[in-house]
Symmetry: C2
């Protein structure tokens, strides 16, 4: 199922030739490309054709929409092709985002509009994590986004870390403000200000809250999802009576993130502790999950901070302990953001586009259906009305004659009902403007895990063809799968499980084949120069860590929780080392 090598001019081009060819003012691909870092500037050529190829076909219909589909041949393919991943990973990434309609640039430089198909991925992340946060005893709430500038200054390393990235409101209601307001880059300061009012005694602890919110960091080099001026995240904030409890909480939450990454997103992250240099501004310890992207760069996909008493001392967040003594609370904070969507794209995507793990299709719809069934008893009606966006299965009906059509459409319609009732998120693409071949490519670009193909012969045989998104061509197809409900549903669920497992397995293999153990700085340099991750014993200083960064571009991603046994020697200094560190270039 390789993408067409030649990009056909899109049909929208035929309709608005001058606009498309001359200026392409509204085309996304070039807009995305102009923000690519200079390293990829050599990828040029085909500007005008990419200008339309990457975007317009998903929107623009063929000009002959009145023509019945029975006259159409399945030869015209989906033109929303992307730069091959192996040619230019960054260009590929931006093309996939444009072609799969995940996001677009906002009018203010560095901002991003998250389009429905991309937002549905974020909703899937939210729905899973929201349950886990509640199960682990956290309550959602909401803190204001405007923070007095003086708050940021209270914790010394915090202001140092964040002040270069702040957006400041200086005018409100037409007047210059007496004190500038920071648009939150993170909420530890305002959280502590409020915690001082809610925490009196040890009985008020632990205090465990979370908020889903937008945050702003004035980033100079932005990239959709991965680093944007404004992004969406959740930030958990907790206060505890003891250092041990805070440490347990920080570790628990990085474990929640790790499980999500493995089990839902099929991303085999490495969990560990950040080096001092990479620790969050204001934290005592930062735990992280680090994911290897398709270009082998590391993506910090989630962090959990043990804040110690840094903020509680700065803000005076105290409680009276069981002996009547005033103590500062011990705190944590932890966050996952829309960056994770970028991680999913860059872990699983291929030259055909996005590839979504089946479990990332939103959970919510299942839940809602469950609710509707129980409470309203109007199962079918609501099932069909709910506006599902991320599908696990797309059904593409195929017919040539009007005679064939009705049989195929009837079969597709009952299949759809069957799958919805089985809790499978299904889309029927029965539009008459597109050929089956075009639809195959389109839904592959969108990353839908399974495709069911049904033609007249399949209807006659009471069977269907099931194609996996993760295995191109014939090897990924199951022919002659019976339409008998229990057989088909069992087959699809089993295939969805296979795909989920296969994506994780593939990512683990890729990761493991790209992490190399090193025992000298020279070895590290060679490994990093190959674009791989280096793992080696480390007990050197912060300044030596800085030297590695300057000389190789790699940073310590983490000291992984999983450590080799036995005595080790720091590859940099030759001194004894307690642990290995992982070095890599990163986003």
């Amino acid at each position: 199922m390789a993408m067409a090598a030649v990009r056909l001019p899109s049909l929208s081009l035929l309709r608005y030739p001058s606009k498309s060819l001359l200026s392409c003012p509204l085309s996304l691909a070039p807009r995305l490309r102009h923000l690519r870092p200079r390293a990829s500037a050599h990828i040029s050529g085909g500007g005008a054709s990419r200008c339309i190829s990457a975007r317009s076909l998903a929107k623009e219909e063929v000009s002959s929409s009145a023509t019945p589909s029975t006259d159409r041949k399945p030869s015209s393919s989906y033109e929303g092709s992307v730069t091959p991943r192996s040619v230019d990973f960054n260009a590929w990434y931006l093309d996939v985002i444009a072609s799969a309609e995940l996001a677009d640039y906002g009018p203010v430089r560095g901002t991003m509009v998250i389009r429905p198909y991309g937002y549905a991925i974020w909703e899937a992340i939210q729905e899973y994590l929201n349950v886990k946060f509640k199960e682990t005893g956290h309550s959602n709430m909401y803190f204001p986004q405007f923070i007095p500038y003086s708050f940021i200054e209270k914790e010394a390393s915090h202001v140092e870390g964040f002040s270069p990235e702040l957006a400041l409101v200086t005018i409100g209601g037409g007047k210059e403000l007496e004190e500038k307001l920071v648009v939150r880059p993170t909420s530890e300061t305002i959280v502590n200000h409020m915690f001082t009012q809610w925490i009196q005694s040890y009985r008020d602890l632990p205090l465990m809250v979370n908020q889903w919110a937008n945050v702003t960091r004035w980033e100079m080099r932005t990239k959709p999802f991965v680093r944007t001026l404004e992004f969406l995240w959740q930030e958990g904030h907790t206060a505890h009576a003891t250092a041990e409890e805070a440490e347990t909480e920080a570790l628990q939450m990085i474990d929640v993130y790790k499980k999500f990454a493995y089990e839902q997103a099929a991303i085999p992250v490495i969990a560990g502790r950040k080096s001092r240099a990479e620790t969050f501004a204001g934290a005592a310890r930062t735990y992280t999950i680090e994911a290897m992207m398709g270009d082998r760069k590391a993506l910090q996909a989630g962090t959990s901070h043990n804040l110690g008493q840094n903020f509680s001392r700065a803000f005076g967040t105290q409680f009276t302990d069981e002996n009547g003594q005033r103590q500062h609370v011990w705190q944590t904070s932890w966050a996952v953001s829309t960056r994770f969507v970028g991680g999913i794209i860059m872990t699983h995507g291929d030259d055909a586009g996005l590839m979504l793990p089946p479990r990332i299709a939103p959970i919510q719809v299942d839940l809602l259906l469950g609710f509707v069934i129980v409470i309203q008893s109007v199962y079918e009606v609501i099932l069909i009305n709910v506006n599902i966006i991320n599908y696990q299965v797309v059904i593409v009906p195929i017919w040539k004659t009007a005679n064939d059509k009705s049989g195929v459409i009837d079969a597709v319609s009952s299949l759809k009902d069957l799958l919805l009732k089985a809790g499978i998120k299904v889309k029927v693409d029965d539009s008459e403007q597109r050929t089956p071949g075009w639809k195959f490519n389109f839904w592959e670009m969108k990353g839908v895990p399974l495709r069911i193909e049904i033609g007249p012969r399949d209807v006659a045989n009471k069977s269907v063809v099931v194609s996996r998104r993760d295995i191109p061509g014939k090897p990924g197809k199951d022919f002659g799968i019976s339409m008998e409900p229990s057989v088909l549903v069992a087959h699809l669920k089993s295939r969805l499980d296979d795909i989920q497992a296969s994506l994780l397995h593939r990512a683990i293999s890729f990761r493991d084949s790209n992490i190399v153990d090193v025992n000298s700085y020279e070895e590290l340099k060679a490994v990093i120069a190959q674009g791989k991750w280096a793992r080696g014993p480390w007990s050197a200083s912060d300044s030596e860590e800085q030297k590695v960064k300057e000389e190789t571009g790699a940073t310590i991603r983490c000291f992984p929780f999983e450590q080799p046994l036995g005595k080790m020697t720091c590859f940099m200094t030759g001194n004894p080392a307690d642990e290995v560190a992982i070095f890599a270039k990163s986003y």
Copy 2:
């Protein structure tokens, strides 16, 4: 179940007397009160006692926490009492917010921290509406909150309406910005900027999206939930090919809001059209739902705007129609915000505190449980682990001797499992620091619809006492309800339905007894002076509407959709009138 008339000094006072008595720096009730409008300034006295009464007891525990509860008599009552609603409605409102721990002030004047118990109400609103939006074909997405200032200026009445309320970012990343950025007060401008890029032909229409977001309006007079500098809302934005479709959409969405208000929040809103003067800045027509609060002031609880082509002309949002002609799209936008939480408090609350309609307890938990049952088959474990906040039923066990205790606790524990399995959100308050009487008052303050009381005699009789929150004292109690699972569950569900219906019925009666038909301006003045709503035929000018506002303080809340039949005469001018308008003072 009247609140204790005498406020006992709180026990926190005994522990930190100097701090509490002298400065009360962290107490919420006085902080809330200092923002009350001057009209209520005559309510003073008892400052120091309210300073502690309204808040601290929910947090502070009794000093003798080591004392076993068997030694405790059920006489000490919950001290988190509030100003009687009839004495000072505004003070009552702020006291309920503080005592039920719904919200708190943020450090920046006019901002609000939404605490977990208040945020759970917002989540219940979100979860219901989110389903309805998807059922009606809308997709969630996210637009950036920073809008170039020039965008706001493009639509003439929009800039006039919003420019006095804008918060402006002028510094980013340490540098003065070339163009000021508006922190979104609403998103029509940026939405249109993006729509121009996504809409080419009629086949791209309708385009129907929604976002859940924070918005900022620099309000001078704020009030928690009702009007805050930053608030949370959803804003739907749609584009259509015809004026008729846009009108249908705007009407559909105000109907979604109306149904939510009636069926979930038990608020009998009046839906109708805004007058020209009260129409949204930039809209052709604004539809509204208007709710009567307990003080008979009107609360605009949701709006839906038919924007016509105002924004599409300002931004050039065009499509090519079926005849190949370029046309401007027809648009709508519609919103409900955290203000609705204030509407729930002010519609149903009483002197004992908050009163929550049973259906406002979050839907999500049911859904999640349903999911967990289906997918993980570990029903009980997860049920108990999920952190439910808004309860439909609270169980208060009562015992005097250690002997009695174990039997009562066992009975309570199996009751809890039973109710959770039946999908009823239940809390067991078995803490030993509080007396049953204190707990009764505390959970009434929190507005939990039903309370189950179980003592040793009830255990022996295999029965419980069930108390309704909405009917004080003995008339609200059902004695001797069998613990037999099917009987008890049926009884509770039936009672929850009764309460839901009763709250709505009571609010309808209150509303209808406070709307008076008027046939002259003199009559209107008299009705408004009584604090009621006036309804009368109206076809007068905008300036006469302005005169009514200046002379009476009342505005046209809406021209209700439900209109009397027959010919009418404008009560102001004596000219023929096509419709009646409703006038009222409002929030």
